[in-house]
């Protein structure tokens, strides 16, 4: 593959850890709002209470992370100048703008006990927005030129939806009494399964752009996430099965599994974020798939045209990386040019 001194082509996202933290919080808030609404409708007040409060807390934290990450936080409100269907961030902002007050109202009703009907309406509204809130972030990442995000657009929403559910269920398991935790337990299993399946597909079906999900820091984070998720599922199942004997211990197991699921949710977001970042730093992930696409379309067109250079100009790899007249120069290039270093 040729490149310009091994330098990256697309830019690495300038987002700080605020953004994966927001992704986690947004998912947690969405899942919790759903859980709270379900609990409300099925009369599980403790689960409702934890869900509503978690939703508000998470959405508030998420908004804080978002604003903190802005280059010009004081201009946060510029997000509300426009409604842009082409911008997942714009759509997300408006979703968040609707979700936040709804979640706030529901939580306020919960805490004060005032206007329970309004609280229910708000809670249901939040729950109505929640699936969008949980999944738009996948589109947010995928709608970039970051190879490992963009190519993953079919999987990312499921990973995020599953992760959101598992995290919210985890929070439910942590907070709700065992008696009301049944749905959280089942949701934990369902969400975690969805997340695990999607994560597996990320690493296994994307070809070259799946590589960052398997290697480096992202791979480590995602493997840790999967381990914790598995543990969380096991804990959730176990915590449920033993509900009649040793209740204190079952409560502890539930709580631990809840914590594991929450941690797994966070690790998933940080892992996916890291994989995208890694895929920007090596031009391979940009060039190789595009080259393959061009060659495919050239082959489909039945000729050697397309964007491919005439054979005469096809340089060997080093020619594009840097100058070098002979083997000596090759050594130099191999030793000294930045492109050969491991991406930081």
């Amino acid at each position: 593959m040729k490149s310009y001194y091994g330098r990256q082509i697309v830019k690495t996202p300038v987002w700080r850890p605020d953004i994966p933290a927001y992704l986690f919080c947004g998912g947690l808030a969405a899942g919790s709002a759903l859980l709270a609404a379900g609990a409300d409708l099925t009369r599980r007040p403790a689960l409702r209470r934890s869900g509503r409060l978690t939703a508000l807390g998470a959405v508030a934290a998420g908004a804080a992370f978002l604003i903190h990450d802005l280059g010009r936080p004081a201009r946060f409100h510029h997000m509300l100048r426009v409604v842009k269907p082409t911008s997942p961030m714009s759509i997300g902002t408006w979703t968040l703008t609707a979700f936040g007050p709804a979640a706030g109202l529901a939580a306020a009703a919960e805490l004060t006990g005032v206007a329970p009907a309004a609280g229910r309406a708000a809670g249901l509204a939040a729950a109505g927005l929640a699936p969008a809130l949980a999944t738009y972030t996948a589109v947010l990442l995928a709608d970039t030129a970051v190879p490992s995000w963009h190519e993953a657009y079919p999987q990312l929403p499921f990973a995020f939806a599953g992760s959101a559910l598992a995290s919210a269920a985890g929070a439910g398991l942590l907070a709700a009494p065992t008696a009301e935790a049944g749905p959280a337990r089942r949701l934990a299993v369902a969400g975690a399964a969805m997340e695990l399946a999607a994560s597996h597909r990320l690493a296994s079906t994307l070809g070259l752009t799946g590589e960052p999900y398997r290697s480096g820091r992202a791979g480590a984070l995602l493997r840790a996430s999967q381990a914790l998720t598995a543990a969380g599922i096991a804990g959730a199942v176990l915590g449920g099965a033993r509900r009649d004997s040793r209740r204190r211990r079952a409560r502890l197991v539930s709580a631990l599994s809840g914590a594991a699921l929450l941690a797994a949710g966070a690790l998933t977001r940080f892992g996916i974020f890291a994989a995208g970042v890694a895929s920007t730093k090596d031009p391979r992930y940009t060039v190789v798939p595009q080259r393959a696409r061009l060659e495919q379309s050239a082959a489909d067109a039945g000729g050697g045209a397309g964007g491919r250079a005439p054979a005469g100009s096809a340089d060997d790899e080093r020619g594009a990386v840097g100058p070098g007249r002979d083997q000596l120069a090759d050594d130099r290039v191999a030793r000294d040019l930045p492109g050969d270093e491991e991406p930081a």
Partner: protein, 839 residues
């Protein structure tokens, strides 16, 4: 050219677009090479061998433009029978005095001419040939000719014999250029020259900064004359000059040996009296316009000393200082080192970085009573006493350095009005945009007010030596809050005026030798013709012909192409319709065309001077070179050069090889300064590599106008050295690591750039590695680094006293150089191993 004159290079690209072939010959593959059709790597310092090969190819194959050569050059002129060529004397011409290292050029004369009775040693000391930038040396008008070119002593035959040994094989041996590549250049050049086509030759300081620099250019001129490429559109030998008004600063010189318009500064022995001086300027019997030089000289003295200059006192000729020898900048700096100079003005110049042998420059400045530095930024020459390299080595201790330093901030080009003369002799006037800030002032302000203050202080003096100061015409109108003198008034004085009326003269032909006109620079006369500042003309290029005669003003007389009479054939018709430029309109009886004819406008091509005619009247109707004393382009130079009538390949003063052409190794007449602090190593194993230096597009000369600017510094942020992959392997250098270069003078360090753009050459049966360094860096500015000019010693071209700073020999080592006192010991170790220092 793309590197150093990118905007000028647009015209090369324009030509290329129209089908021109671009050939680039350079020791290193540059941005110019990248756009050229053919790139030829060459060993630095061997251009005469290459060009001599081209001359040999032309003559050997009779490819010269014969009609042009016969009519317009001195090819047919017979040379004196006592002349002996380098072919006869193994690299020397007749007349060499090995004791003094100079030639007696008497035997080089045209047949029948009395030998020049000059003192060649004094001529070399005073760089006399520099006078000939505007006009040829004086010789009598009449010459013996053989129009068949068969006479063994005619210039054509001498030339042929002289260059016969410059074969393609020899070119390959000397220059490291494969013969096929060389022949490709010869064929392209000759094919593209003649009646229908012309080729241009472009050079720069890569040619001038050699001990044989003038002869480099001479060789180019010989080729261009042989091919009929002089005085014709698309032809020429074009000097790309590197500073905004460096042409102007030679025309109106701040040079020790010249007065404005290439008039000589008087020499104490040669020009003791006014009449000696005037007689020496021109030959009484010569042809052409230079015969009127007395009018130019008298008018200059009138401009200098006004009413005080009268016929009775020889127009104050006695007020002029007299040369006794070499008073050039390098001699002066060595005198500073020796404590002979008290005070030094640096006016927008940074010799601590820009001049050869930077250490001598700095140590010289450290040994002055006082130094005045005027610049835009705090350049290295202003701060050497504080943070120069010699402070680091301990050779210079601020507390022990007595030099008193005045730094006066200068006005920038937009903060003053005035004219620059650019590379094609074009004067362009700049309007002032804003007042200079703070204490910043123009040089005009500084000099005018310094003169005013000095004249005030001397007002009561009765000392004879102060008369020259007090008599000076120094009353320029001032204006504005800072009393800025009027540059327009100065330009009017430069143009010249009638003393009685004060009216500007129309041109140099209006100047008189009786004191009735004053003129600051005769070649610029006409720039204020009609009382209008012609240099300020700005008729848009799109609204006039391609010659653009109404943009600025070119000397002489707004001619854009010198000697353009040669663009027409002897009968006055264009050589070809494609190449028509100026021609004779028989109907109107006048020369006409696209440019101002460089000829008397009504002189018929058939005009033949009467016997015994001199001056302008002696110029025949087919003598295009009107400033030459025989009206011809000189293939052979019978007088006026210090180091021979024909170019000859000599090795640089420092070279890794013995001269493959002659026993004579280097220019026998080169100007040397043999002293312990200026060691040179003619051929040495200790310094096995050739190094050369030049500029980068992103920086300017010594960096004073670029390394202080963020936007330029970031583009080339650090001093580096380019080496070939082969040399990197030989010396164990890694890309981007440090390495240091050692010469007999200094050691400098730089980051390594390994690049295929440098290539080892096969020379005289062995491999020669060349390295390249940019010379922009120094210790002051945003981007700092060691200075490449520190590496050079001082050895000069004998004709013009320009240093050889494009080639030298060095060693190259990985890693950083030593620091502190160890640094000098390190260099001394090399000197001992090279046998240049004992102990």
């Amino acid at each position: 050219m793309a590197e150093c004159h990118p905007v000028g290079f647009q015209w090369v690209m324009e030509a290329k677009r129209r089908g021109a072939t671009v050939i680039h010959i350079d020791p290193r593959f540059t941005r110019t090479s990248a756009l050229a059709d053919t790139y030829v790597p060459i060993r630095a310092g061997t251009d005469i061998a290459f060009l001599g090969g081209v001359v040999n190819y032309i003559l050997g194959n009779e490819l010269d433009f014969r009609e042009y050569v016969l009519a317009y050059t001195n090819a047919a002129t017979i040379v004196d029978e006592s002349y002996q060529d380098t072919e006869d004397l193994d690299g020397l011409f007749s007349g060499f005095d090995p004791e003094k290292g100079v030639y007696d050029p008497g035997s080089w004369q045209y047949a029948g001419h009395a030998p020049d009775s000059g003192d060649t040693d004094a001529d070399r000391e005073t760089a006399r040939p520099l006078r000939h930038e505007s006009h040829g040396p004086p010789i009598p008008a009449g010459t013996e000719r053989d129009e068949t070119l068969r006479h063994p002593r005619c210039v054509y035959q001498i030339l042929k014999r002289h260059f016969a040994r410059y074969t393609p094989e020899m070119v390959e041996r000397v220059c490291g250029v494969p013969r096929e590549k060389f022949l490709e250049v010869c064929q392209a050049w000759t094919r593209n020259s003649g009646r229908e086509r012309t080729s241009a030759l472009v050079y720069s300081v890569g040619w001038t900064q050699h001990t044989v620099g003038v002869q480099y250019i001479r060789t180019g001129a010989i080729i261009q004359l042989l091919l009929g490429n002089v005085g014709r559109p698309g032809g020429g030998v074009l000097a790309l000059r590197g500073h905004a008004s460096i042409q102007g600063s030679t025309d109106i010189p701040t040079l020790f040996n010249l007065l404005p318009g290439y008039l000589p500064m008087p020499h104490h022995a040669q020009h003791a009296s006014f009449s000696d001086w005037v007689a020496a300027i021109r030959h009484p019997g010569q042809k052409g316009f230079w015969a009127d030089a007395r009018a130019y000289a008298v008018s200059l003295l009138k401009a200098y000393w006004g009413d005080a200059a009268t016929a009775e006192n020889d127009y104050c000729y006695g007020h002029l200082p007299r040369m006794t020898g070499d008073h050039g900048t390098y001699q002066t700096v060595l005198n500073m080192v020796d404590g002979k100079v008290k005070g030094y003005f640096l006016l927008g110049q940074n010799p601590a970085v820009g001049s050869a042998h930077g250490r001598a420059q700095r140590l010289g400045m450290a040994n002055l009573d006082w130094l005045v530095v005027r610049d835009l930024y705090l350049v290295e020459s202003a701060t050497f006493w504080k943070d120069g390299p010699e402070v680091a080595t301990g050779e210079l201790v601020p507390e022990e350095c007595r030099t008193e330093v005045f730094f006066l901030p200068a006005a920038s080009h937009v903060e003053k009005e005035g004219s620059f003369t650019q590379t094609q002799r074009l004067l362009q006037w700049r309007e002032k945009a804003v007042d200079p800030p703070g204490d910043c002032r123009s040089e005009l302000w500084f000099v005018y007010h310094l003169g005013r203050i000095i004249r005030q202080k001397l007002a009561a003096s009765t000392l004879p030596r102060d008369r020259a100061v007090l008599d000076l015409a120094w009353d320029y109108p001032v204006s504005g809050q800072h009393d800025e003198p009027s540059a327009t008034a100065v330009l009017r004085e430069i143009n010249g005026f009638e003393v009685a009326s004060g009216e500007p003269v129309s041109g140099y032909t209006a100047l008189k030798d009786d004191g009735s006109t004053a003129c600051g620079c005769w070649i610029y006369s006409g720039v204020f013709a009609g009382g209008v500042n012609q240099a300020a003309r700005r008729r848009p290029g799109a609204e006039q012909s391609w010659v653009a005669a109404e943009w600025g003003w070119a000397w002489p007389m707004n001619r854009r192409l010198l000697y353009n009479r040669a663009s027409a054939d002897p009968s006055g018709r264009p050589w070809s319709p494609r190449k028509a430029y100026v021609w004779w309109d028989a109907g109107k009886g006048r020369w006409t065309g696209h440019d101002v004819p460089d000829f008397e406008a009504d002189k018929d091509p058939s005009y033949r001077p009467p016997l015994g005619a001199t001056g302008v009247a002696a110029i025949a109707g087919d003598d295009p070179f009107v400033m030459q004393s025989d009206g011809k382009g000189w293939l052979y130079v019978p007088t006026g050069l210090i180091d021979g009538p024909l170019p000859t390949h000599y090795e640089p003063a420092e070279s890794p090889v013995a001269n493959p052409l002659y026993r004579q190794q280097s220019n026998p007449a080169r100007k040397t300064y043999p002293r312990p602090d200026n060691p040179l190593d003619p051929i040495s194993a200790v310094f096995p590599y050739v190094f050369t230096v030049s500029r980068l597009t992103e920086h300017h000369t010594a960096g004073g106008m670029s390394r202080h600017l963020e936007y330029l510094s970031e583009l080339q942020p650090e001093m580096f050295i380019e080496v070939s992959p082969e040399l990197a392997a030989e010396r164990g250098l890694s890309h981007l690591d440090w390495a240091h270069v050692v010469t007999a003078r200094a050691v400098v360090e730089a980051r390594v750039m390994v690049t295929d753009r440098l290539t080892p050459l096969r020379v005289a049966g062995r491999t020669i590695h060349q390295i390249w360094l940019p010379y922009h860096w120094g210790g002051a500015g945003l981007s700092v680094g060691d200075s490449a000019n520190d590496l050079f010693g001082i050895v000069l071209d004998p004709n013009v006293l320009i240093q050889e700073s494009k080639v030298g020999t060095c060693d190259l080592r990985p890693g950083r150089r030593p620091t502190g006192p160890e640094l000098r010991r390190y260099v001394d170790g090399y000197l001992r191993r090279a046998g240049l220092r004992k102990g």
